[in-house]
Symmetry: D2
Subunit: 307 residues, 4 copies
């Protein structure tokens, strides 16, 4: 498939809607990002890179870090992860406490905030005596993306931490149910740092390619997950990866994907390629508006989806 030609067509076609929607405003640092940006990249299983627009512009990966955090925890802990976090779509906004009360402190899935806090707690415990999650998750992502100079944006992390009372509420709430082992403030700090990791479309597309390749990083042949586990992460992305719009996203796009309020969305075509699109203005559920449209165009034009 001629990915470059498709990306060029998508880029041209998506232009009228770039900037439609609203840049995330609850984190002051994110609110400063100019909405009129758009980038897209594909990395195939041979490592070839295809890109269009601002694909090398760095942005805050935000909730996309939840995918890497889960992958690392699943890699380290295996199925015991699921004793503390579920695998079901939530049917409610990403930061709801209602469901957490009904289900007694066990978050519905690892891609809503509560679930990612539990995963962060697991990683904190795992790395307690090994120098902290901070380096661990970033090192892991560097390996997946095959790039050493990935880091996080301190200003974003601090901005996020100052406004994360709701995440603190969820963490305290889970702690009251016995589903958090570390201090709430430590978990929040690590969580905010992970959300503030800065990457571009090319790096992110490369970093998820192993999920299109049965869990193996194509260029290094390192096995991150076995084939069955990789398939399962993909399934989880499809059912839970785009907040409370996952059903609609699957309906329109039909690819496993994970979005972040920084405007990035990673996706993948199993057996073919990793994908990342970015445009900062969001639709009501918190997914990039132009990014979603671009992915829908991509699957329509290429005739590819998982279905």
């Amino acid at each position: 498939m001629d990915y470059q030609a498709i990306l060029d067509r998508v880029h041209a076609a998506v232009k009228p809607v770039i900037g439609s929607g609203k840049v995330a405003s609850y984190i002051p640092e994110l609110a400063k990002v100019a909405p009129n940006q758009f980038g897209i990249a594909i990395v195939d299983l041979e490592g070839n890179v295809y890109q269009a627009g601002d694909a090398e512009m760095s942005f805050s990966i935000q909730s996309i870090s939840k995918l890497f955090g889960l992958t690392l925890a699943f890699h380290l802990e295996g199925d015991s992860v699921w004793s503390r976090v579920g695998r079901e779509p939530s049917g409610t906004p990403f930061n709801s406490l209602v469901q957490l009360e009904q289900e007694r402190g066990k978050p519905r899935n690892p891609f809503i905030n509560a679930g990612a806090l539990v995963v962060t707690d697991m990683l904190l415990t795992h790395y307690a005596s090994r120098g902290g999650t901070e380096n661990a998750l970033i090192k892991f992502i560097r390996k997946l993306a095959d790039k050493m100079d990935i880091g996080y944006d301190r200003a974003v992390a601090e901005s996020e931490q100052r406004t994360s009372h709701r995440n603190a509420a969820m963490a305290s709430f889970m702690k009251s149910f016995g589903n958090l082992n570390n201090d709430v403030s430590d978990v929040i700090e690590a969580y905010c740092r992970n959300c503030a990791i800065a990457m571009n479309c090319v790096d992110l597309a490369r970093a998820v390619t192993f999920l299109a390749n049965h869990g193996v990083v194509p260029w290094s042949s390192e096995k991150i997950l076995d084939a069955s586990s990789a398939k399962r992460i993909n399934a989880l992305m499809l059912t839970c990866g785009t907040y409370d719009a996952a059903g609609d996203f699957a309906f329109r796009v039909g690819l496993p994907a994970k979005s972040g309020v920084g405007g990035g969305i990673v996706a993948l075509m199993p057996g073919e390629c990793g994908i990342c699109v970015w445009s900062p203005a969001l639709e009501a559920s918190g997914n990039s508006y132009a990014g979603s449209v671009a992915l829908e165009m991509l699957t329509s034009m290429s005739g590819r989806s998982v279905f």
Copy 2:
């Protein structure tokens, strides 16, 4: 792929768990079904049939009728269907009224009871002057399954209707929000009749094969849906087809599927085949226990899933 060999292996491997779980008891007629039964069938795009166990034993399709109802409504009405019913996983049991209140009478998706009641209402209105939904939906299924003697079980339909106060509650509730045009009792009657349609695994596997074939019935070449619409129905099955266990089902099985409390589950491998498995005893979410296990084995053994 040697489907017959795989079905035989699945059948042998699943034996220890056949009968585990509980037969649906809220409909008296269903409670009489013996739990120790199991059948499975595959129909490929050439129409070849593969089967094991009680694959020609007739059972009550129950919520699988929601898939056919939606397909018919989508076929007739196109995207206007989505103005009255959503496409998101519900995150709650299949018969909850809570969400319906929060979302002001618009059901989250067409595969929960509330959504199927709205779809039934659409079909009733459409066929009002044309002899009723009863024949319409059964005729549609006969065409898909290429079999003329499919009908519904009067005793089950009546048993269901006598105990459908909760469905009546949902229908009245939606009517209070203006999302039901026909009389509540007419909608309930049609809905119960559709649930009481009796089919076997071979018929059901055949009836869903068009969804694995871009919307075209392979043996008649009749186009039921265009390729894009068929893909979308599959996406909806994956995210919403197995009640509040859809995330877990996608995680373990990774195929679009729709289950019913009669113990049947239809599924499909895009581009390959239609599938149906049946075993009456259910897990807590209302899906066939042995049936789910069998489908998980099938994807593990065949190495096939959509991911």
Copy 3:
């Protein structure tokens, strides 16, 4: 206490706010009532009547009928009433189904719609072989109000019935939990008829005076309830009688009261008198706006409340 002087002062003081708020519009017949009306009446334990404004203008008693229905059921069945309906404030709007789901079909109290439907069901069963609730409740009210020509407004009853899908939803829902014995349509019909009973302020003030007199109708010496039961009904009015504004109402007014969306509010001063105020325009919770203000003035000016 000089009730007439106080009523005159209240009437004068309340004038600026008469008509503020909104006349109930969900029942078409009620929407026709002119908002600029106001009446108030007090009946003391000797039967003396004090009144001001449109106190002899007839209006639809609506939810005030819930008070009479409960009294009659409590009179007939005693404490067994409480096995089917609770005694707690609901903390939610009067027609919510959410709580009903959480509490498995047992309404929180007899003054929300769901609770009144259960009470209506009890009365229907009791009078099944005795000529129906219709006459029973009206006869009971005639006796309390010492007036023979009280009846119900057929146009209002029918208007209400045509738009009572939500009440039908609640009734069906409770039936699904086994907490309704009669047909949903029969319960709804009786319920709507009871709501459509037409009375004026003087009649209503007289009809509740027994609750200020330890359960005994002063002029006939008939004991409707024993002193302890009368006290309990009063407690229930204070905690649950004014929809989801009961706390605020107790805070501001401090008297047991029951309101209806027709704009009437009955209240009482234990040991002193029965009270009724009426003004059709409602505040957001469904209580008469000017009526609430008038009762607040009444307790401020008289220095009387239960506290």
Copy 4:
């Protein structure tokens, strides 16, 4: 009225149920209290004390401190209190977050935990430059109870603080809605200290007598609240003072009351006396079981209630 004779009769009659129920166990220090204790005291408007049982045994006042906190805040801030906390019964358990989400961080009333946290926050802000709430609230209570050696139990305060993740969750949650001005940890610390205040029945009965006396402390003639405000606090106690059993409590007892999980309940008869009963074993809603029964007996035997 011969209070002493009534207390003696109540004490004798309640004996069979003393110890029924469960001592609060979520705070380890409280779990150590022996369940078989019972005390009751009445203080009339002349300051006469009547008592029976363990009425001078000190216990942890727990949520009864919410009454004193609210009184102090209302005394200091007047009606502006109600811009941050409501006056409606909650209809849910005392520590629910669900309602807080629906009502966007404004607690339903000051007697549920969330509401008391907001009141504590108000007091912290008020006393920030004046030596802290700690002394302020205790000094206030000492004045009301006319007793200088009232303090708090450090072991209970620390035990409570170590297990107050759920309260921290609520505080963080309200902070996310902008309804908390101080640091979460400072609010929690002050809140736990207030709950750990230790008093006996005689002191507590005396401390609430001003609420039976139009807001004036009888022995010092100090006006704490004006008559209207005192009446309003009483109304709030009746509708919201006994957790999610307030309706039932009003129904059975019919007096304004506030309970704590330490087993104490304060109540009052307007115009007559302050009351306190204590017995550590609780019913399901968190109110003293024997204490509730004793108060019901007291109103039955004395023929007094507000209704």
